[in-house]
């Protein structure tokens, strides 16, 4: 600074003007250099000797921070288990997790940093449809395979990218098992009318659309169909609308807070639909019971691709490891955890099958083979959606969430060892 001022004095006609311009230049250069140096600080170890580095960007702050954290747990559990089992290709795996603050700007930078600066060997997906879509193009430019578990909105699969693979159930198919079951009922039993209400969200709205497209041709008339903003905090007008439509069955695109609000209102107004299914919320075990009351859960349904006691390879171990590390009960494991865990499992199997970390081979292998995961079988179609995934339908009976799966005739049958039949119509409140 000293030197700088001295120089100015010699040349400058207008005192006080030039130094600032110098300062501008210096500051600008410093800022940009800081960015440059900062991101080239950790030079990568792409060597074949050390551990296998896996890069992940997760929303540890911001709107998706709650899910981001659950995803982090899922990835970490998988890494721990993999290392305990001797690693991948005989090497240990390490996770290089960076925060994207739920921002598309940051997520774009993050994957470029992970690949080009940290030289990670593999990348796993972030949380949410929007961030997955934004980062999938970045990852595609590097020719990396992009296996993810929480970017299931239809828009992710319409860009024509061949490197994106979603190990979870395609979002839109969540309610399909339920809708087909209703449509396949004998005409005398089949409900005449249905009400639909959903958050305006790429996760919930497509599920109701898909269900409605099955139910309407089957003769189930739509008597109420409304979308509400996901920031809504007062759900009573929507509940009142559903109640006054007096539909036979109700399908809601919700998370826990809104489905709880709906149930409360239905109970209070003594409205008894023959079936009530919510995209999410009733699957949250203890929290759901607390929110709606222990005697009110009977007969409520929820679709899901996974449940804590599912008989999939590795599932019981994962749930046990989760409880050992983070506490709680099996029912409290967020479904984000197995989604992240499955990403690790599927990628690891494809890598093992190839015997190498070569990305082009990895993409090819992912497109061609069938894999196992804690969420069940995984087989990808050409767009990267998991075609082997189907949704179970769960129904609260007593204190349990009883799993049902569709048989060849689309009927919902209990998943062994469970023997209880599905309850329809749902008992009154």
């Amino acid at each position: 600074m000293h030197q700088l001022v001295k120089g100015d004095e010699r040349k400058v006609k207008i005192p006080g003007v030039l130094p600032r311009w110098r300062a501008v230049a210096v500051l600008g250069a410093v800022a940009l250099l800081a960015a440059a140096c900062g991101s080239s600080g950790n030079s990568g170890s792409g060597s074949a000797k050390g551990p296998i580095k896996i890069g992940v960007s997760l929303s540890l702050t911001g709107d998706f921070s709650a899910d981001g954290k659950a995803f982090q747990q899922g990835y970490q559990l998988w890494a721990k288990q993999t290392n305990a089992d001797g690693g991948l290709l005989g090497r240990q795996v390490t996770l290089d997790i960076v925060n994207d603050a739920s921002s598309p700007v940051q997520v774009a930078t993050n994957y470029q940093k992970l690949i080009s600066v940290d030289h990670v060997d593999l990348v796993f997906g972030p949380f949410s449809t929007g961030l997955t879509k934004a980062s999938s193009q970045v990852v595609n430019r590097y020719g990396y395979a992009f296996v993810e578990g929480a970017g299931g909105g239809p828009s992710v699969f319409t860009s024509g990218l061949h490197n994106v693979f979603d190990v979870s159930l395609p979002v839109a198919n969540n309610l399909v098992s339920f809708a087909k079951w209703v449509a396949a009922m004998p005409a005398s039993e089949r409900p005449k009318t249905a009400a639909y209400a959903t958050q305006d969200d790429p996760f919930t709205a497509p599920q109701l659309d898909a269900a409605r497209k099955i139910l309407e041709p089957a003769g189930v008339q739509t008597v109420y169909n409304k979308t509400y903003p996901s920031e809504t905090t007062d759900y009573s007008p929507i509940a009142a609308g559903i109640i006054s439509a007096k539909a036979d069955i109700v399908l809601v695109g919700t998370l826990l807070p809104d489905v709880s609000a709906f149930v409360k209102q239905f109970v209070q107004q003594n409205y008894n639909p023959k079936a009530l299914i919510a995209t999410a919320g009733p699957d949250q075990g203890a929290q759901f019971i607390q929110n709606v009351g222990a005697n009110r859960t009977e007969g409520i349904m929820v679709p899901n691709g996974w449940y804590p006691t599912a008989d999939n390879p590795g599932n019981a171990d994962m749930v046990k490891a989760y409880i050992a590390q983070y506490g709680g009960t099996a029912a409290e494991v967020s479904s984000d955890v197995p989604e992240a865990y499955s990403v690790g499992e599927v990628t690891a199997q494809a890598v093992k099958n190839n015997g190498s970390l070569d990305q082009a081979k990895l993409i090819k292998e992912l497109h061609s083979s069938t894999f196992d995961s804690v969420q069940g079988k995984v087989k990808f179609d050409s767009t990267g959606q998991n075609v082997d995934a189907f949704s179970f339908v769960f129904q609260w009976q007593g204190k349990d969430l009883v799993p049902f799966k569709p048989d060849a005739n689309s009927l919902l049958v209990p998943v062994p060892p469970e023997t209880r039949k599905i309850q329809y119509p749902k008992q009154t409140w």
């Binding site: 003007v17 130094p19 500051l27 440059a36 540890l60 774009a108 080009s116 600066v117 430019r141 996901s230």
Partner: protein
């Protein structure tokens, strides 16, 4: 605010009457540095941060051209950013364009559409003053965000829109966007400079100083404010268009982001409100630092604390922003030096920080 009609001319290197030779050279060197930057620092992570930084230079500079000069604190410029983004996405999809260089020609068109959006918004919002104006811009921002969810024909609702994917590889991809962003950023700063030097700019400052008096002196305040507001909308819309094209997809919460509203204002404050170089420096520092801190600290809380504390320190020691505060320090040093040694040098323009009546100047210009 101030009881007299005088105001401190923003201590700003570009507010002088002309550019001296030395300044021209330095300015040229800076622009040259900016141009060669992506070819020197080729790492995509660096160029990605640099590209976003330039978009913020443009958007913050545009914000400052209206809000910094007139004193009307707009907290809803994401309306134009989002409008530009969606205009670009719609143009690209309706014209069935493929990704590539040519499509950048649509950026100014998207900017014009955003400017068109700014016309009714400004007409409405500028009927109010002070705090009411701030809140009206926030309210209009939320209306636009909700419209983005609800007008499916234009935005495809919450499912979002995809943009054409350019055929560039990972190493060169960012460079194209960086250079496009650089052009927009330079245009935005140049516009700020031209406005600031013109009699039009003096009218804006007169409005900031004392609007009623400016009106009394013959400044057509409504027209002047609205014209600048639309100009800001145009520049911000161009930034939004590049942003959408870079990401490759656009969703309502990405395009109409409340954080963007605050960020561009903070950058201008941080660097120096109402100065030409203030928003530039604010963006050059804050965007890389924020991205770096977010990346660096995986424990989410730390990144927030670090960023917040950095902010508080700067506000504590440089309450007027970096440019005016540093200018003050340098000026004092120079003066001390001048007093100790040679006699003060003569100057053909008032030293920065000198107090003149902008309203008077503006009035003089008009009469």
């Amino acid at each position: 605010m101030a009881s007299s009609a005088s105001l401190a001319v923003p201590a700003d290197p570009l507010s002088g009457r002309g550019l001296s030779m030395v300044r021209r050279v330095l300015l040229g060197a800076l622009v040259l540095f900016a141009i060669v930057f992506p070819f020197v620092f080729t790492n995509p992570a660096t160029t990605s941060i640099a590209m976003f930084t330039l978009l913020y230079v443009g958007a913050s500079s545009a914000w400052n051209t209206f809000s910094g000069f007139t004193g009307y604190m707009a907290l809803g410029n994401a309306v134009f950013y989002g409008s530009g983004a969606y205009a670009f996405a719609n143009l690209a999809s309706h014209l069935h364009l493929n990704g590539g260089m040519g499509i950048f020609a649509l950026v100014p068109v998207a900017g014009l559409i955003a400017g068109l959006v700014a016309l009714p918004v400004g007409w409405l919002a500028l009927r109010t003053r002070r705090h009411t104006f701030v809140v009206i811009t926030i309210a209009i921002f939320f209306i636009f965000q909700l419209l983005a969810y609800n007008l499916h024909a234009l935005t495809n609702g919450s499912s979002g829109m995809s943009l054409p994917i350019p055929p560039w590889d990972a190493q060169t991809y960012n460079t194209y966007f960086y250079l496009a962003a650089l052009v927009v950023a330079v245009v935005a700063v140049a516009v700020a400079w031209v406005v600031r030097r013109s009699s039009f700019g003096l009218e804006l400052l007169a409005i900031r100083d004392d609007e009623d008096r400016a009106l009394g002196l013959g400044v057509r305040t409504t027209k002047v404010k609205l014209a600048t507001f639309v100009l800001t909308g145009f520049l911000t819309g161009m930034c939004g268009a590049i942003y959408a094209y870079y990401l490759g997809s656009i969703y309502p919460p990405f395009a109409f982001e409340a954080i963007f509203d605050v960020t561009i204002a903070l950058m201008a404050f941080f660097g120096g409100l109402g100065t030409i170089s203030g928003p530039v420096i604010g963006a050059l520092i804050l965007e890389p630092v924020q991205q770096y801190i977010t990346l660096r600290f995986t424990a989410g809380g730390f990144s927030l604390i670090a960023f917040g504390v950095l902010f508080l320190i700067v506000i504590r020691f440089m309450p007027e922003g970096i440019v005016p505060s540093l200018a003050g320090v340098l000026r004092r040093r120079l003066r001390a030096r001048a007093e100790g040694g040679a006699s003060p040098q003569s100057s053909d323009s008032p030293p920065p920080g000198t107090t003149v009546s902008a309203a008077g100047v503006a009035g003089g210009v008009r009469s």
